[in-house]
C-alpha cells in the first residue's frame, strides 16, 4: 500500500496529533502504574498507527466499534473521554465508565475474541433495519478489533463465517502485533497471515502496513465503504509490533530479545508520520514541539481526572445486575449494607 496518496495537510496533521496524544498517554499510563495510581495497564506502544488510522475512519454517528482491552488509541480517535476510558485500568469499573450507547464504542472486552460475534450481530441488525430505510444512504458498519492470538479462537471463525454467509457489514480488523503474550504469531497462525483465511470464508481482505497511519486509514475507509455499500464483510490485517510488555505485569525478557525489540523500533509509526509531514508539507520543529506539549498536557489532565475519580459506591455492584432487580438481590444488598457499615 505504499502508493497510498498523502492525505491533505489538515487531515495529516489531525492524524499526527492523535498519534502523539495516544503515544504520550500510553507512556504516561505505564508510569502511573509504576507510581501506584492505577493497578494495571495494557500498553499499545508501537500500535498507534493501526489504532488511530482505523478509529479515525469511523463515522461515530452510525458505525459501532467493538474493542478489546488494548484499544485506547481507537477510543481516543473516536473522541471517547479518556478518564472514563482509563477508569477500567484504575479498577473502577470493568467495562470503563464511558457510555457505549452514546459513544458507539462497546465496553472494554477482557475475553479474547469475546466481542467479535457481537459485531456480526450488530451488523446484521443494520441490514435488517435497512429493509425499512431509517439510516439514509448506506448502512452502519461494525468495526471489530482482535489480535493474532484471538484469531485462534473458535468464535472468530464462527464470526467470519456468519458474517460472510449473511453478508453482514462487518470490518474485521486484526492487529497482528507479533505476539499473544509470550507466543509469537508464527506459533499461532500457520502461514503467518490471518488475512489469508478470509478467502476461505468467502470474503475479501486487505493486508496493510499497520505502522503507516496513512495506509491504515485508506484501507479502513475502503473496507467501511465496501460494507456500507452492501457488499458484505471485509477483513483487514494490520501488521504492527507490540513494543511494550503484554501488560504491566508481563516480563518480555523471558521470551524475546532486546535485539528483536530494537529492530521493531525502527518502524516507529509516530516518527514515520512526522517524517511524512516534513517531506510533504515542510512542517517545522515549532509545530512538533507544540503538538508534543499539548499531548503532555492532555495526559496530565487525564492523570488529574483519574486521581480525583472516587471508587464507585458498593451499591453499584447490585444496581446493574438486572434492569428489573430481584428480591434476593435486594435482600443481599441490605445485608451487605448492614454488615459493611455503609448505612
Amino acid at each position: 500500500m505504499n502508493s497510498t496518496p498523502t492525505p491533505p495537510q489538515e487531515e495529516l496533521t489531525k492524524l499526527y496529533e492523535l498519534l502523539v496524544r495516544v503515544r504520550q498517554l500510553d507512556i504516561a499510563a505505564v508510569r502511573w502504574q509504576r507510581q501506584g495510581i492505577i493497578p494495571g495497564y495494557a500498553p499499545l506502544l508501537g500500535q498507534e498507527a493501526a489504532q488511530v488510522g482505523s478509529g479515525y475512519a469511523v463515522d461515530t454517528a452510525r458505525d459501532f466499534v467493538f474493542p478489546t482491552y488494548r484499544e485506547m488509541g481507537v477510543a481516543r480517535a473516536m473522541n471517547v473521554d479518556m478518564v472514563q476510558y482509563m477508569a477500567t485500568h484504575k479498577a473502577t469499573w470493568h467495562g470503563g465508565l464511558y457510555d457505549p450507547a452514546a459513544t458507539h464504542l462497546a465496553p472494554i472486552q477482557a475475553v479474547v475474541a469475546g466481542s467479535v460475534l457481537h459485531a456480526v450481530g450488530w451488523a446484521h441488525g443494520q441490514t435488517l433495519a435497512q429493509h425499512e430505510p431509517v439510516h439514509g444512504a448506506g448502512t452502519g458498519v461494525a468495526l471489530t478489533y482482535f489480535g493474532d492470538g484471538a484469531s485462534s479462537q473458535g468464535d472468530v471463525h464462527e464470526a467470519m463465517n456468519f458474517a460472510a454467509v449473511m453478508k453482514a457489514p462487518v470490518v474485521f480488523f486484526v492487529q497482528n502485533n507479533g505476539w499473544a503474550i509470550s507466543v509469537p504469531t508464527a506459533a499461532q497462525v500457520a502461514g503467518g497471515a490471518v488475512a489469508a483465511r478470509a478467502a476461505g470464508y468467502g470474503m475479501p481482505s486487505l493486508a496493510v502496513d499497520g505502522n503507516d497511519v496513512v495506509s491504515v486509514l485508506a484501507a479502513t475507509r475502503q473496507a467501511i465503504g465496501h460494507c456500507r455499500a452492501g457488499n458484505g464483510p471485509m477483513l483487514i490485517e494490520a501488521t504492527t509490533y507490540r513494543l511494550g510488555p503484554h501488560s504491566t505485569s508481563d516480563d518480555p525478557g523471558r521470551y524475546r530479545s532486546l535485539a528483536d525489540e530494537q529492530a521493531a523500533r525502527s518502524l516507529d509509526p509516530v516518527q514515520r508520520c512526522a517524517d511524512l509531514l516534513r517531506t510533504a508539507y515542510g512542517t517545522g520543529d515549532d509545530y512538533f514541539e507544540s503538538v508534543f506539549a499539548d499531548a503532555e498536557a492532555e495526559a496530565e489532565r487525564v492523570r488529574e481526572g483519574l486521581e480525583s475519580l472516587a471508587p464507585r459506591p458498593g451499591a453499584d455492584m447490585f444496581r446493574y445486575v438486572f434492569q428489573e432487580t430481584t428480591p434476593a438481590l435486594q435482600h443481599q444488598e441490605t445485608t451487605w449494607r448492614e454488615e459493611s457499615e455503609h448505612v
Binding site: P39, G40, Y69, T88, K90, A91, T92, W93, H94, G95, A110, V111, V112, G149, A150, S152, Q153, G154, D155, A180, I181, S182, V183, A187, Q188, S249, D250, R254, Y255, P311, R312, G314, D316, M317, F318, V321, T326, A328, L329, Q332, E333, W336, E339, S340
Partner: protein, 345 residues
C-alpha cells in the same frame, strides 16, 4: 498478618526433619508438576504461555526447558481447543495436565469439559478413561481485570463425571496436585491465585491422607467450612474469635467433589453449628449443597440453621469493589454470631 496466621496454624511438621521445606504455593505446584512429569512419561503440560514463559503465574516455570517441548508446550489461544485436544490425547493414552490461564477463561471450554471430558468414561463404558488434570488459577483477591477473579466450583461440581479439588496452602498444593495427576478420572484443580506467593512448610515426604476434607484447626463451638483462599481467612477469623472465648473449628473441605460428608458430619456433630464461607455467588453456590448435607446428617444436633457467608449474586466486581464482595473477616464474624445467637423458636 495473613501469612503469619497461616503459618502458625499450618500442620506442625517440625521434627520429621529432612523433608520439611519452606515453599510458596507457586514453588510447591511447580515442584509437583516437575515430579509428575518425571514419574509418568505419559504426562503432558500444555496451554497458553506455559512453555517459554512458564505461565503467567510461573507455575510451569522451567519445565519446558527441562522436559522439552514435546512434554510441555504452548497451544494456540483457544480454550475449547485445549480441552478438546485433551480428550483425544487421553484417548491416545496420554495424561494431559492442561492449564486454563484464568478461571474466567474456562468458560469457552465448558462445552468440551461438560459434554466430553465429563462423560467419555461413561459413554465408552469405562474403556476410555479421562485422566486429565485441568489446572485453573482461581478465585479473586488480586485486583485483576474482568474474568480473572471467578469461582467456578459449583459449576464444575454440578457436572457428572468431574472431580474438583482446591488446595489451601503450599503443603496441600504440592500433595493434592500430585495425587490428582495420578488419578484415572478428570480432576478440576482450582488454585487459589491470591495465595500463590505466601510461603509455608511443605513436607514433601508425607502428605498424609489426600482424600476428603481436613481439620485445619480444631475447635468446639462452631465449624467454619471453607476451601481455597478462604481457608486462610477463616483461620484468621478463628484467631480473632478466640480472643472472645469462641473456639472455632476450621474444616478445609479440599475436595469439592466428592464432598467428604463424613468429615462434615463428624465436625458439626461436635460443634453443632456450621458456617460455610465461599467467594462464589450465593445462589446455587456450593454452600447450598453443604448446608443440605449438614442438615441431612446433623439435623437432630444442629443448634442453628447452617449459615452461608458468600459472594453476592453479582458479577465479580472491579478491584475497587473487590473487598466489598469477597467475604471479609467482619462478615464471617457476623455469620458466627448468628449461629451462636440463634434460639429455636
Amino acid at each position: 498478618m495473613s501469612e503469619q496466621t497461616a503459618e502458625i496454624t499450618a500442620p506442625d511438621l517440625a521434627g520429621t526433619g529432612s523433608h520439611l521445606e519452606h515453599l510458596s504455593m507457586q514453588q510447591a505446584l511447580n515442584r509437583a508438576l516437575a515430579e509428575s512429569l518425571e514419574e509418568n512419561a505419559k504426562t503432558l503440560i500444555f496451554g497458553e504461555d506455559v512453555g517459554q514463559l512458564g505461565g503467567v503465574f510461573r507455575i510451569t516455570d522451567g519445565l519446558q526447558q527441562r522436559f522439552g517441548a514435546d512434554r510441555v508446550f504452548d497451544t494456540p489461544l483457544a480454550e475449547s481447543g485445549i480441552l478438546g485436544m485433551s480428550v483425544g490425547l487421553a484417548m491416545a493414552g496420554f495424561h494431559p495436565i492442561p492449564e486454563v490461564q484464568f478461571d474466567g477463561f474456562a468458560y469457552p471450554a465448558v462445552n468440551q469439559i461438560v459434554c466430553q471430558i465429563g462423560r467419555m468414561n461413561y459413554r465408552s463404558r469405562g474403556t476410555l478413561p479421562m485422566p486429565i488434570t485441568l489446572r485453573v488459577p482461581s478465585f479473586g483477591g488480586i485486583r485483576a481485570p474482568e474474568h480473572h477473579g471467578e469461582s467456578l466450583e459449583s459449576l464444575f461440581a454440578h457436572v457428572p463425571g468431574l472431580k474438583v479439588v482446591s488446595p489451601a496452602d503450599p503443603h496441600q498444593a504440592y500433595h493434592l496436585l500430585k495425587h490428582a495427576i495420578r488419578r484415572p478420572d478428570p480432576v478440576i484443580f482450582m488454585e487459589p491465585k491470591a495465595r500463590y506467593w505466601q510461603k509455608g512448610p511443605v513436607d514433601t515426604a508425607d502428605g498424609g491422607t489426600l482424600e476428603g476434607a481436613r481439620v485445619a484447626r480444631p475447635g468446639r463451638h462452631v465449624t467454619l467450612i471453607a476451601w481455597g483462599a478462604m481457608v486462610a481467612r477463616c483461620l484468621q477469623v478463628a484467631e480473632l474469635a478466640a480472643e472472645d472465648g469462641i473456639d472455632v473449628e476450621v474444616l478445609d473441605l479440599r475436595w469439592l467433589k466428592p464432598i467428604d460428608t463424613a468429615a462434615l458430619a463428624a465436625s458439626v456433630t461436635r460443634t453443632r453449628r456450621a458456617v460455610v464461607v465461599h467467594e462464589a455467588p450465593r445462589t446455587s453456590g456450593l454452600g447450598a449443597e453443604i448446608a443440605a448435607l449438614v442438615t441431612e446428617e446433623c439435623f437432630n444436633v444442629l443448634k442453628a440453621p447452617v449459615e452461608r457467608v458468600t459472594g453476592f449474586d453479582v458479577p465479580y466486581p472491579s478491584g475497587d469493589l473487590e473487598d466489598e464482595y469477597v467475604p471479609n473477616i467482619d462478615r464471617i464474624l457476623f455469620g458466627i454470631q448468628r449461629v451462636l445467637e440463634h434460639r429455636r423458636g
